[in-house]
Symmetry: none
Subunit: 226 residues, 2 copies
């Protein structure tokens, strides 16, 4: 559950935002002054900061600068008017996004989600898997073999990406089910067989003697260690 820190001096606004964010599954902390917000940030280390520009105690810009100096917690600025934003457009201070008042809480939640998603996507996952003469670009959703592009359905793509990410490791059908269709524990293990067959048809030149996707009898499948 990602934690959001709201630094905003209007209690009414904080109340509304908190309600919406919590409903959306976020944990919420709030401060009503800039300096208080900064120390709360140090203490709680939230995943994202919603920061008003005009604050008592300490200016929002200074708060942002201070946070940036120590960390790159994503910051979404709340500003009163569009003109204020013109000053910030360069985003000198590294705000990740901004919202101008008046705004609907719904929009705020959407922004928060978008920023977190954007950062997550950029930071964590490897973008690229290369094994043998197969190349998988997770971002672009492409698979090439010897430079030739091969079309994949979403499930096929997921399976291949899972297997190829750890060549030599055997995956059970259950693990592959989980990888391909999310968490789903329900489902028929043999479904995987069908997808493997289709994958092989697309990848292997000799489907009888698979070169890439090998069967591990009694266990599952693995991508060949090259």
């Amino acid at each position: 559950m990602p934690k959001i820190l709201i630094i905003e001096d209007e209690p009414e606004l904080v109340k509304v935002l908190r309600s919406y964010l919590e409903k959306a599954g976020f944990g919420v902390e709030a401060a009503y002054r800039g300096d208080a917000g900064l120390s709360l940030w140090k203490q709680k280390r939230p995943d994202l900061v919603l920061l008003d520009l005009n604050l008592p105690g300490m200016d929002g810009l200074d708060v942002a600068r201070e946070i940036r100096r120590k960390d790159n917690t994503p910051i979404v600025m709340l500003t009163a008017r569009v003109e204020e934003m013109d000053q910030l457009i360069g985003l000198e201070l590294g705000a990740d996004d901004y919202i101008t008042k008046p705004f609907s809480p719904r929009v705020v939640v959407a922004k928060v989600r978008a920023v977190l998603r954007r950062l997550d996507a950029a930071a964590e996952l490897p973008q690229h898997v290369q094994v043998a003469d197969i190349e998988i670009d997770l971002d672009a959703h492409t698979v090439t073999k010897d430079g030739e592009f091969i079309d994949m359905t979403p499930t096929e793509f997921e399976l291949l990406a899972t297997l190829a990410a750890q060549p030599g490791r055997a995956f059970s059908r259950l693990q592959l089910l989980e990888a391909s269709q999310g968490t789903a524990y329900e489902g028929y293990e043999r479904t995987i067989d069908a997808h493997i067959k289709n994958l092989r048809a697309k990848l292997e030149s000799d489907s009888k003697n698979p070169r890439y996707i090998e069967t591990v009898f009694g266990v599952g499948y693995r991508f060949a260690r090259q």
Copy 2:
């Protein structure tokens, strides 16, 4: 470390700007006259020029024009008032951005960063995409097929530009929403379908077998690989 050239006749202002820019990690050169600025530009080849409009020795406009004639070093204009800018815009000077006085040094640094970043980002993407008989000039905002210009609505062009800038890469509807209407997380993903349909109607001769904008089932759309 990017180099910035300041051409500005007020020494006090130069001093402040230099201090801020250096703190921000830029190398700074300065000239106090237009003609001197131009020769310093020739000599140092900075990554960006901060250029005052009213200068002794040589008018800022002439300096800009001269720089543009030889090179496309980004230029950020410093102008006294907004009205001055209106003139400039008509002159199609090719400045990359402008700032009106009075301005905070912070804003200047932000602008400089933004311009450099924008150019960097732009440099990575092609300005021009040609596939078969379609030609898309992302810069000029034009699309031609067999030499004939095709009119696009703004949204259509944005979508097409996004897709065509990275042929072969699949984009989700969410990514396309974000690209076409700015930030939107809200909005109906199927809206993209409608725009794609309109785009295809304009681009494709056989809308059933799209040659340019391909559907990636379960993922989104992509521009055909070249």
